[in-house]
Subunit: 187 residues, 2 copies
DNA sequence: GTCTATAAAGAGATAGAC
DNA sequence: GTCTATCTCTTTATAGAC
């Protein structure tokens, strides 16, 4: 049915299957959260079967860990104005296309402690980095508010699909950009 | 021919038990989300048993619906400046003490469609009301951002427990209040 | 390499004893 | 009114057939 060349094709096939499983896992974890996403559903969506998923990834937890790993953000450095620009640019990206892996972690974090830790780690690391470079006594607080605002926008847009946030990223940034700059500079 | 066997006591007892179950349900749903909270755990925490919980509330879904009903916010009306003040005051409350019922709905909404609808309904209703009274072409967008900011702050503080947001409500409002006013007036 | 059958555990829900 | 025992279903995870 398949090819007649065994070895190379097998490795290739396996990688393909693994990739399909990971993609399906990201989508489903992101859409339904950790508990409501079943190995069965992932296998079906990937055109495979539950046994194979378990064999490749070991457990549902491990599959989730791989699917929901948050890609590290670029380092944020410079003057308050530059920082504001970098944060605004990063937000634009997050609003434009759906960051599938991050969404999986975000949705799951509210019911899955490990996912919560993943998100918290990613956010605090960036936030501390930013706070250290901002002026003012309340730099930590202000960078925290920037983080909360960013989280609120991403969640409201992609997860809650809140009314009024379905505008284009540019329109949104036109409103939010100045606020981020204000918070960064402390004006 | 009043009571040798007091009916009133039974009714009273039942109400007490129901109240204890509801309190336990709010706390546990708020802490672990819908799927990870078991009827068994709620019964144990309420000093009761699973059978009773089912008997009183019918199903886990119905118990959740009662536990996670979001109390309606006060109507928000007036000039943009007044609206900003009302929204800021409401936010102060939400930051000060943990709104147990709302937290249950908030945490659950990410994995439980019914809860998502509850939160979305509560938010859009208030948001539309606000948008209708704000000046400017982008009033809907700006009131959406206010909603996202509020959601982000509450989630970051109570659910994520993000670094830098553990300040006193007053300190937080000192930073966020002006932003809300800006968004409301469109300045 | 891939898929089927099943074991093991845990959940919500129900019936009935006290 | 309250609690115990159990039924049934669904899940992850495993063992082994193709």
């Amino acid at each position: 049915m398949r090819r007649l060349k065994p070895m190379a094709t097998r490795v290739e096939q396996r990688q393909r299957t693994e990739a399909r499983i990971l993609t399906a896992a990201r989508r489903l974890f992101g859409e339904h959260g950790f508990d409501r996403t079943t190995i069965r559903a992932i296998a079906t969506e990937a055109g495979s079967d539950p046994g194979l998923v378990m064999r490749y990834f070991g457990s549902k937890e491990k599959l989730f860990a791989q699917a929901a790993a948050i890609p590290a953000d670029r380092p944020i450095e410079g003057s308050p104005e530059q920082i504001a620009r970098l944060l605004t640019a990063a937000l634009t990206d997050k609003l434009a296309d759906e960051p599938t892996a991050a969404l999986a972690a975000l949705r799951a974090m509210f019911s899955h402690p490990e996912a919560a830790e993943e998100v918290r780690a990613a956010m605090t690391s960036q936030q501390r980095q930013v706070a250290a470079q901002l002026p003012g006594d309340d730099a930590v607080l202000r960078s925290g508010v920037i983080g909360a605002l960013t989280l609120g926008l991403v969640v409201s847009r992609h997860l809650v699909r809140l009314d009024g946030l379905d505008a284009s990223p540019e329109e949104l940034i036109a409103v939010v950009g100045p606020i981020i700059e204000e918070l960064a500079t402390g004006a």
